[in-house]
Subunit: 147 residues, 2 copies
């Protein structure tokens, strides 16, 4: 099949498929005479695996590790287990952070129940003190935030 069909079948934008090839996640597809990529069901399966990993919010580096194991079926899979454990840890931590954040945002929101002049806005004035009561500094994190 050609790239458009693979894109359709896998729910992946065409550009993303080409991007995965450039990144070495998908092998370089063979070409037709007219220089069109042609894919086999094996390519589709591998792409499906990558997309599932991305749905599970793994980085492409994590996916690369898992693909390495897929490609070496005789290797021991202990590293797979610990990769997943670590990833679960990151997700759990990010949930905790976001819960704290939500609490803080809601209490900030409660400071301005009806609109008035900006100078007196409980939100704008509240932000200056926000987190003063012990909220942690933002740190580099592994799981994406709100944006």
């Amino acid at each position: 099949m050609r790239i458009g069909e693979l894109a359709q079948a896998s729910g992946t934008p065409i550009e993303t498929i080409r991007f995965y090839e450039r990144e070495g996640l998908l092998p370089a597809a063979p070409r037709t005479e007219g220089n069109y990529r042609i894919y086999t069901p094996q390519h589709a399966e591998r792409l499906g695996f990558i997309r599932q990993c991305r749905n599970l919010d793994m980085t492409l580096d994590e996916v690369r590790v898992l693909l390495r194991f897929k490609d070496q079926p005789l290797a021991a899979c202990g590293e797979v287990n610990s990769l997943l454990d670590e990833h679960i840890g990151h997700v759990a931590e990010r949930i905790r952070e976001l819960r704290g954040l939500e609490k803080e945002l809601r209490s900030l929101r409660a400071a301005c129940l009806t609109p008035h002049v900006a100078a007196d806005c409980g939100i704008l004035n509240g932000i200056d003190q926000a987190g003063a009561h012990g909220a942690a500094q933002r740190k580099r994190r592994h799981v994406r935030g709100a944006h």
Copy 2:
């Protein structure tokens, strides 16, 4: 004070301060004869506000909106309220998504309790079906994920 002192006092890397100036979040600081930026306590306060907003996981565009209100103290602050409401919504949604994700990851992890050969690994084989039971496709989101 000079930029290093402001960085120290605010817990912000020097390059980030210069970046905020380039982005127009901080006004261009006056310079010494030797072309060093000099800052007043007002600059420090504004930087503190920006950093608090970032701690609350707002985008710089959201911060720009809030700063606009800080700079126009007589404007009505209704937009501030709705910006915050929307932001709270994004955070809450991201928490829901990550909870579902964590559940899925944990059930995947349970498929391989002891390491064996990669070809038989319940995790690697499970990923192919992961989300087949109705998990939503990843969508463009506002709040960062796990990475």
